[in-house]
């Protein structure tokens, strides 16, 4: 076989040497456009897992690489003039030039021929002259461009600017430095790669970059600026430039990596944000996978297919984590008021790959510090000597203290009669309280008969309902320390449907009642057309909420939640998809919020000042033309300003056409976004299956409460 490798970077060289080693009779030639010793960037980082992969693939180079490595275990986070260190992370760094030298030597030893300073003008000509063309020609790959129709590359430009320096200061840890300036926040990612030199990347938001005038500075001026900005860390050491210019990070993905006898490797096929340090790691692992594919398949096409199949899921997983990490650094301003210990925890768990329990395994003392801090900040009293995990920290809201962060709600049953809850409801709620929930919330309780979703919904619109709830609350208070809350709801245009045992939003076969909504738009196909609310209706619904609140007080509830999510009446005012009014209650978001806020004001005025009030809001409609997360943030700010103490973050359900996401991360991300962008405490409704997930969210300040459902358990 006759193989041509385009590009003499780590991917190309490593693939060449691995293939030559297994198949000494194959002709393998590497072409590189730059001189032998030219290289950009400074050092590269590997985890211990990558290292063992290298060892298995080729012991000779692996030994040399390992000898050339500096190893370290700590991550240092410098934030607000404090240092937080977390240990137990195995890292290894090596100079890029040194790595290339090792790979080049091994290529020579095995008989791979290498040509430097050689341009290949037409990859297609080269492809036809060999059996296999390995395109490892980097992020600006000419080969990829030549066969763009097959590879279908797509790129996303990052919103931050970064510059890649070296420094003669040896760091002893993977070091993050955050520096708040009058222009905005600067971040440094620094790590050692040999005994005397480190990589030093400076990153900031594009606006910060412009504000600081860096867009108008040349290479030397920029470096001088950074040198002075971080002089306290650099001391007498110097920043070093190697054509170090400000860039924005481009993430590259390709639909295919194989075209006929051409295969993409490394940066030519994919890139992943530098903040998880994975570019070279991915490149070398690509090479290993390609070599392995040729061990398993004699047929060229089958080998290439198998390479792509084996690598794609791994690469995509890394790209997902890298994208999370990138997003974190682009939005890190959001967390600038955090305490350093929580800031560090949030940073370490940013990509979703490292959790609370992972960190406990790596550095139990660090996690104990996090727990101690969390417990102390949650509770003004003397911190516990053995602090519990965040899940078990109390939370004070107004005059009420929840004993822990777990919120549960009984599953829906639709067994109420004329709004009177079935007696089994008391047992269901009781079980959750004795099962350890700090706050037990009822499911949606209708404020009027008209506001019920189905004839089986419970309500609180008669004195009989009040007495029934009163009994339930009293029983719960007697039997457990749990706090008990009620969720007030009005179904709006989702009302008058069959119980949900056979599906959602199916109108009753007979006995339908008329529906209220901001506009006469039915919820879905087959749904009843609601009546657009008029002046009297607003006063009537407001009064229903007030009366329901008075009954909730009389029934003894500790917490009250208003449901402004789930496509109900108040939710339908918020969304432009369902609110198309032309009066003061419709139009832009401010106007669409008017009626929901009027209800909130009315309830807050009646609900005791020492008891907390929650509001469930949609973070987004998950639908084109609907509410977006920026609206979700505004809604959270507004309800908070109107006396809500904590928002419960839901999403979707405004219409049946929404495109929901059911992974844990998405909803958890919304709770984080709203909490830290709007500055409002949040409850996450992410689909939690383990306490590890809950602790990771809480300790990172992504939410303050977690809604937990026993029905998610395996």
């Amino acid at each position: 076989m006759n193989i041509h490798v385009l590009g003499g970077g780590p991917a190309g060289l490593y693939a060449a040497l691995l293939l030559k080693k297994s198949h000494p009779d194959w002709e393998i030639e590497v072409t590189e456009r730059n001189p032998r010793d030219a290289t950009y960037g400074w050092g590269v980082v590997f985890s211990d897992r990558t290292l063992s992969g290298l060892h298995e693939a080729d012991v000779r180079t692996s030994t040399q690489i390992t000898d050339g490595f500096v190893l370290w275990e700590a991550i240092d986070v410098h934030f607000r003039d404090e240092l937080v260190r977390c240990d137990g992370h195995a890292f290894a760094g090596i100079g890029r030039k040194k790595l290339l030298n090792i790979l080049q030597e091994r290529c020579v030893e095995l008989g791979v021929s290498m040509r430097f300073e050689t341009e290949v003008a037409d990859p297609d000509e080269l492809r036809q002259s060999c059996d296999l063309l390995i395109a490892a020609d980097g992020v600006n790959s000419r080969t990829r461009a030549t066969y763009a129709q097959t590879f279908q590359p797509s790129t996303t430009e990052g919103r931050a600017r970064f510059v890649w320096y070296g420094t003669d200061k040896p760091f002893d840890a993977f070091t993050f430095i955050f520096r708040d300036t009058e222009y905005g926040l600067f971040t440094v990612h620094a790590y050692p790669f040999d005994a005397t030199t480190s990589t030093f990347i400076v990153e900031c938001h594009e606006a910060t970059w412009r504000n600081a005038g860096l867009d108008r500075m040349d290479e030397a001026e920029s470096m001088a600026y950074c040198q002075s900005l971080f002089s306290d860390h650099l001391g007498s050491h110097q920043l070093l430039s190697n054509r170090s210019l400000w860039l924005s990070f481009t993430t590259l993905k390709c639909r295919r990596w194989v075209h006929e006898n051409v295969v993409l490797l490394g940066d030519a096929a994919h890139t992943a944000h530098f903040s998880i340090g994975s570019g070279t790691k991915l490149a070398l692992e690509d090479s290993i996978a390609l070599a392995q594919a040729f061990e398993q398949h004699d047929d060229l096409r089958a080998a290439l297919r198998s390479y792509e199949q084996a690598r794609r899921p791994r690469v995509e997983a890394t790209q997902r984590a890298a994208a999370e990490s990138q997003r974190y650094f682009e939005n890190v301003r959001r967390y600038r008021t955090y305490e350093p210990i929580q800031f560090a925890f949030h940073l370490l768990t940013r990509s979703g790959r490292i959790t609370f329990d992972n960190l406990r395994g790596r550095d139990p003392y660090f996690v104990a510090d996090v727990e101690r801090w969390y417990q102390t900040s949650a509770n003004d009293k003397q911190p516990a000597i053995v602090p519990p995990p965040p899940l078990f920290a109390p939370l004070a809201l107004r005059g009420i203290t929840l004993p822990n962060r777990v919120v549960m709600s009984p599953p829906p049953t639709f067994d109420a009669t004329d709004g009177v809850p079935d007696v089994t409801r008391a047992d269901a709620m009781q079980r959750l309280a004795s099962g350890g929930a700090g706050l037990v919330l009822t499911g949606p309780v209708a404020v009027s008969a008209q506001g019920r979703t189905t004839p089986g919904d419970a309500g609180i619109y008669t004195d009989a309902h009040r007495d029934c709830w009163s009994e339930i609350v009293e029983q719960m208070h007697e039997a457990s320390p749990a706090i008990v809350g009620i969720t007030l709801a009005h179904a709006g245009r989702r009302g008058s449907t069959r119980v949900r045992t056979t599906g959602l939003d199916r109108p009753l076969r007979e006995g339908n009642w008329p529906l209220l909504a901001p506009s006469p738009i039915p919820y879905g196909p087959g749904s009843q057309v609601p009546t657009a609310m008029r002046c009297d209706d607003f006063a009537m619904v407001e009064q229903q909420y007030i009366t329901a609140t008075e009954r909730a007080i009389a029934a003894g509830f500790d917490v009250l939640q208003i449901d402004m999510a789930h496509g109900g009446l108040l939710a339908s005012f918020l969304s432009p998809l369902s609110n198309q009014r032309e009066d003061d209650e419709g139009g832009d978001l401010l106007h669409r919020m008017r009626f929901p806020l009027r209800v909130l004001d009315a309830v807050r005025a009646v609900w005791p000042a020492d008891r907390p009030l929650l509001v469930a809001i949609p973070a987004t409609d998950w639908q084109r033309g609907g509410l977006r997360t920026t609206d979700g943030i505004e809604i959270a700010k507004a309800v908070y300003a109107h006396g809500c103490d904590l928002v419960t973050v839901h999403a979707g359900q405004t219409t049946p056409e929404a495109q929901p996401r059911y992974d844990f991360e998405t909803l958890a991300g919304y709770a984080d976004l709203i909490r830290n962008e709007a500055g409002v405490p949040t409850m996450s409704t992410a689909y939690m299956t383990t306490s590890n997930q809950a602790n990771t969210l809480l300790a990172g300040g992504r939410c303050d409460l977690v809604l937990y459902s026993p029905r998610m358990g395996r």
Binding site: Q309, F414, T501, T502, G503, Q653, Y662, R711, M712
Partner: protein, 281 residues
């Protein structure tokens, strides 16, 4: 977790008596159900017609379409067929529906491929309404109509299942992948405010014996050739040893599967016998 076995209705060359004998054996064997696949442009037997015949030759097992490509069929006609099948089988039908992955099936049937998701939504709505309102008989034996499950890979499928159906059917894969889908199906169910839990169904292929495993692999590579390189991953998932089958069954049970159907890759009855031996105890 209950265990079912697939009928060889999409195994090319399987004769009518092969399929009916297979169903009869399954009915006396340790299986809770028999499943059928649906492909239009392929040498295969129609799933609804197959189950109609099987309804007459079996007494006990549930009859499961896993799945029928919904949008290829007129919703009201399908509602009547399903109700009929439920009547003929004495209430043993589980109707699984999904979009299918083959464009050529849609083209051959003259059905627009682009809005197939919307079509399936509409169909699911019509099925329930037809079964319940009694204008178009027969009345199904199962109250409210045959058990209805929805398949698919993405969040839209979980949303659809929780909006209209009684549960979700996964298209196959190792237990670890399956478990992730179970979490999402449950999340969708919670989000929708449905009472109880969704019924979770899973499926896989088996071929017991050395030659049979080799042939089974070839069959899958051919049957799934339209998926490109993914066919290889499906073929790699073929269960070929008793140990592999037991481990797989346990993995699915632990991940929360309620009902797993194992499909053959050839119509030879000894396959059913061997599987019975493995799972019988």
């Amino acid at each position: 977790m209950k265990l079912g076995i697939g009928l060889p209705n999409t195994v090319s060359g399987a004769s009518g008596s092969d399929v009916l004998d297979w169903a009869r054996m399954a009915d006396v064997g340790p299986f809770a159900s028999v499943g059928v696949f649906d492909r239009l442009v392929y040498d295969s037997l129609d799933p609804m017609m197959t189950l109609a015949a099987v309804a007459g030759t079996t007494q006990r097992v549930r009859l499961v379409t896993s799945v029928v490509i919904g949008p290829l069929r007129n919703p009201v006609v399908l509602a009547k067929e399903a109700a009929t099948l439920d009547v003929l089988s004495g209430g043993r039908l589980t109707l699984g529906l999904a979009l299918g992955a083959r464009r050529d099936d849609y083209e051959a049937a003259g059905i627009d491929y682009a809005d197939r998701g919307k079509k399936l939504d509409e169909q699911l709505r019509v099925l329930r309404d037809t079964w319940e309102d009694g204008r178009i008989g027969p009345a199904p034996v199962q109250p409210g109509g045959p058990e209805l499950i929805v398949g698919g890979l993405d969040d839209a499928a979980f949303a659809r299942a929780s909006r209209y159906a009684d549960g979700f059917i996964h298209n196959g894969g190792p237990p670890r992948i399956f478990a992730r889908s179970v979490d999402k199906a449950r999340a969708a169910w919670l989000d929708a405010g449905r009472p109880g839990q969704p019924q979770i169904w899973g499926m896989a292929y088996f071929a017991l014996g050395e030659d049979e495993a080799k042939a089974g692999r070839e069959y899958l590579l051919d049957y799934y050739a339209f998926t490109g390189p993914f066919a290889e991953r499906i073929a790699d998932g073929l269960l070929t040893t008793p140990q592999g089958i037991i481990q797989f069954i346990r993995g699915y049970a632990e991940a929360g599967c309620d009902h797993l159907i194992l499909f053959p890759t050839n119509a030879d009855l000894t396959q059913l016998e061997r599987l019975s031996e493995v799972v019988g105890s």
